[in-house]
Structures are given as structure tokens and as C-alpha cells.
């Protein structure tokens, strides 16, 4: 068995300095450490402002890391996200790290089927197969087929969120980051997403997620990591 966790966060610190607001300094994470192993679902818990989303974004390489390490094992080597070249992070995002954000970022004119199948095409899956796999997932998430040829910009919040989940999960990656994947979903769709997450974990993906819905959290999480807001020290 592989003994190195897929994800290791070591002493991660992150402070936002707002130069346009007179240089206010907002420390959000200080020496945070955690790991995620293959086949487990780690739920980040803690009150608003504790830095849960910030931690996910640092792991994804979306936020810069001030101090500490985020180490991701892509099966070939362990990459330190804070020091990796942009093209290395882009490659990791294609095959190794999946991320479902809270909101779908829509691109004008791109159809739902293209939005969802694009991550597959980016790793070389042929268009037909990519579209078939995207269609299967969209159908499972109850996005009506008549919407697939439309750009998701005009969809309801719940529909957009399901398109977002589909896009994030269409490629199975060793590490998956979920930021409130069920936030605006009704009960039936929420249950479907829970089911898909459980299957993903069972298939060996390491999942790190934020789930405010207690039922969802209890249903998917195999372990909890507690984050607390930093006491306001710096100014």
C-alpha cells in the first residue's frame, strides 16, 4: 500500500493584505496542517470565517501560499503547490485535483454538454466518448436533455450547481475538493450528489470538502478537521 497521503498540508499560513484598503492585514490561516488519504472524505468544519474555503483554494493553487507546504502526490512525484510552476499546476488540475466551487463560472456561448465534457477532452478523451460520459452524468443529476445544447448562463441556481458538480466530477481524480456542492439543491438532487460523492470515495479518491448541511456531512464524511477563526491579532 502507498503510505504517502495524496494530500499533505503542513503549517500552512495565509494572510490577505488589502492594499486598496489602506494595507489592512487579514490573517486567515496560521500553521494549519491536515492530510487526506485515498478513499477517505475529510470534512472541514468550523464557523464562517474560519478559513475553510481559503484552505481549499490554497490546496487548489487558486490562492497563493504565504508559508508552509501543500504537497500533492500525483502518482509520479509529490508536488509542492506553493512552489510549482503555473503549467505544472494546470496539469495537476487536469488529472490529479478536481474542484467543485460554490458557483459555476459560465463562459458565454458554450453549451452545457461542452462545459461538462471539456475536462475529459482536455485529457485527450475523444469528443464522442467525452460527450457520452458527460451526458450520463447530466442525466443522473436530472438536467433535462433539452437543456444540454444551451449555455448554462440562464439556468436556475440549482441547475447551475448540478452542471458545476458534473463538470467537477466527470474526470475521476485522485484528489477532489468540494466547496458546498449541495448548497442550492433540493432533497432529491442533494441525495444524488451524496450518492455520487460516496461512490467517488469508495473508488479511492481522497475528498476534502465543506458541507454546511449536517445530514450531507454525516452521510459522506469519514473524518472531520476542525478549523477555528484566528483571534484578530494583526492590524
Amino acid at each position: 500500500m502507498n503510505t504517502i497521503p495524496v494530500l499533505q498540508v503542513r503549517n500552512l499560513s495565509k494572510t490577505f493584505v488589502l492594499h486598496t484598503q489602506g494595507g489592512v492585514s487579514l490573517p486567515v490561516l496560521a500553521e494549519t496542517s491536515m492530510t487526506a488519504d485515498a478513499g477517505e472524505c475529510v470534512a472541514l468544519v468550523g464557523p464562517s470565517g474560519a478559513g475553510k474555503s481559503t484552505l481549499l483554494r490554497c490546496i487548489y493553487g487558486n490562492y497563493r501560499i504565504d508559508d508552509g507546504e501543500v504537497l500533492i502526490d500525483d502518482g509520479i512525484e509529490v508536488v509542492d503547490i506553493g512552489k510549482a510552476e503555473p503549467r505544472r499546476i494546470i496539469e495537476l488540475r487536469r488529472r490529479t485535483v478536481g474542484y467543485v466551487s460554490q458557483f459555476l463560472r459560465v463562459v458565454p456561448r458554450v453549451t452545457t454538454l461542452d462545459v461538462v465534457s471539456e475536462p475529459l477532452r482536455m485529457i485527450g478523451v475523444k469528443r464522442d466518448e467525452a460527450e457520452e460520459r458527460a451526458a450520463t452524468l447530466l442525466a443522473r443529476l436530472r438536467i433535462p436533455e433539452r437543456l444540454w445544447a444551451l449555455p448554462p448562463a440562464t439556468f436556475s441556481g440549482g441547475e447551475q450547481q448540478r452542471v458545476n458538480v458534473a463538470r467537477g466530477l466527470v474526470v475521476s481524480t485522485p484528489l477532489l475538493l468540494l466547496d458546498e456542492p449541495t448548497a442550492s439543491l433540493d432533497a432529491e438532487n442533494r441525495d444524488t450528489v451524496v450518492e455520487i460523492i460516496r461512490e467517488t470515495v469508495a473508488a479511492g479518491t481522497a475528498v476534502v470538502g465543506i458541507f454546511h448541511d449536517v445530514e450531507v456531512r454525516e452521510a459522506v464524511a469519514t473524518r472531520f478537521v476542525d478549523l477555528q477563526p484566528l483571534t484578530k491579532a494583526a492590524a
Binding site: V17, R57, N62, R64, P86, R87, I90, V107, P108, G124
Partner: protein, 267 residues
């Protein structure tokens, strides 16, 4: 179109290497001490407000304006890295025809206005040795289709086209010989919003399917987010920040980048 290939196995170094590039206009700084690499398949965005040195930089690296100091090296197909400004003019011109494309903000700067749409594309093919009229016309037609151009207008003059059509024609003209590096200067700049969206979508698809390396100058951060993998933020001729596109836009570090991002309605 060709299938996308994975970046890592084939990469053996950057395609373009810019080192300490500096351009003075007399005593005025155009750009100063700029260094960066562009790797195969990478789309690099250069952002910053008007007068920040973006266009000067683009001109210097595309062999249109000799820098005061510094070097621009390009990986040729057969001879490895060459210093652009040490090449004889003829060799530089040859590279421009065979390996590079340049999409100007104003299509009039990149098109031959007195030549038909088909001719604009055919001319590029002839420049690299194509001679068979039928083949040239077929290829031109294929490319016009790729850029969603009405084939019924293949024999019409560019001056009779809308701005969006002209821009799509310019893109086809620049991609027809399979360039390895494409420079783009505000490619969606002069177009209205709906036309812009369509063009952006087209550029996105082409760049990813052809695995092009692109250097794109834009002041529009939304365009940068859609197209670029990586950003270079410039101010007063100098690079103030570089990084992954979403990192620079979502977590800008430099005061100027923060100002730039926070000044946009929807970045």
C-alpha cells in the same frame, strides 16, 4: 483537428525565452527588465492599463521593434534556440511566415484589404510554398469554416465585411500555416459585446484544439481569464506580478494588481 497532447512528455524546454528585455524611447521607458518564458501549448496574457508597456513588449518579442537591451530567443524546428535579433533579416522574416502568427486589434492591420477573403488565406499558403490552386482553395475554405465564416463570401473583399467577420478572417489567415506561436494584441478590442463573446469562444476552442502557444495582450481581465493560463501584470513598463491566471485575478498580491482587479465590474 488534432487531438490535444499532454504537455509534459513532449516538452523539452520553452518555445520562447525573453531575458531582461528593455526598450527606451530616448529617455522614456517603454518596458524595463522583462523576463519570462513561454512553453509549448501555453497561453500567456499580458495585462495592465494603457501606457503600461504591453504593446511595446509585444512588439519587441515579435521582432517588430528592436529592444535597447536584453534578448528574445525562439526555439526553431531544427536549430534549437536562436536569438531573434542576431538572425539576419531574411531568416527572421522566414520565421514570421512559417512559425508565427500575429492577430492585430484592428483587422485592417493584419489583412490585405484589396484581396478577397479566400485570397487572404491563400496568400499565406503560397508564402510557404503551396502552388496548387485547388488545394489552396480547399484549405482556405476549411479554415473559413473553422472560424464560422460564411463560405458564400469567400470571393468578397474584406472591406465589405463586418468588424467581427474581418477579425475571424484575420484569425484564419494567421492560423492557416500551423504557426507554433501566435501573438495577439487586444484581439476582441474593437468589437461589440455579443460579437466579442463569439470570438472569444472561437479563440478558446482553437487555442486548445491546436495546442497553440499564445502571447495575448489585453486590458480586459475577463478576456484574460477566459484565454490565458498565466498572466504578466505590467505597470509603467515593468512587470509587477506574474502567476497562474486565476491566482492573479482572485488573490492579487501587488497593490497595482489589486487595484486593477478591484476596478473591474466583473473580473
Amino acid at each position: 483537428m488534432t487531438e490535444r497532447e499532454e504537455i509534459r512528455p513532449k516538452e523539452n524546454g520553452p518555445l520562447l525565452k525573453v531575458s531582461s528585455l528593455t526598450k527606451y524611447y530616448g529617455t522614456i521607458v517603454g518596458c524595463r527588465d522583462v523576463s519570462f518564458d513561454v512553453w509549448p501549448g501555453e497561453v500567456v496574457g499580458i495585462v495592465g492599463e494603457s501606457g503600461s508597456g504591453k504593446t511595446t513588449l509585444l512588439k519587441c518579442i515579435s521582432a517588430a521593434l528592436e529592444p535597447t537591451l536584453g534578448t528574445v530567443e525562439f526555439r526553431t524546428r531544427h536549430d534549437g534556440m536562436v536569438d531573434l535579433y542576431k538572425l539576419p533579416e531574411s531568416a527572421r522574416r522566414f520565421l514570421m511566415r512559417t512559425d508565427w502568427g500575429f492577430v492585430h486589434q484592428n483587422p485592417r492591420d493584419g489583412l490585405r484589404m484589396g484581396v478577397s477573403a479566400g485570397g487572404n488565406i491563400g496568400e499565406r499558403l503560397m508564402a510557404v510554398g503551396e502552388r496548387h490552386y485547388g488545394d489552396i482553395r480547399t484549405t482556405a475554405g476549411d479554415w473559413l469554416e473553422k472560424v464560422e465564416f460564411d463560405l458564400g463570401r469567400i470571393d468578397h473583399m474584406p472591406s465589405t465585411f463586418s468588424g467581427g467577420m474581418q477579425q475571424r478572417l484575420q484569425i484564419a489567415r494567421n492560423l492557416v500555416n500551423g504557426p507554433r506561436l501566435v501573438f495577439m494584441d487586444e484581439p476582441t478590442g474593437g468589437l461589440d459585446v455579443s460579437v466579442q463573446a463569439r470570438l472569444l469562444d472561437l479563440l478558446r476552442a482553437l487555442v486548445s484544439e491546436l495546442r497553440l502557444s499564445v502571447i495575448i495582450v489585453t486590458h480586459d481581465l475577463a478576456v484574460a481569464r477566459l484565454l490565458a493560463h498565466r498572466l504578466i501584470v505590467m505597470r509603467r513598463g515593468e512587470v509587477v506580478e506574474t502567476g497562474l491566471t486565476d491566482q492573479v485575478l482572485d488573490d492579487p498580491q501587488h497593490p497595482y494588481s489589486q487595484l486593477l482587479v478591484s476596478s473591474v465590474l466583473q473580473p
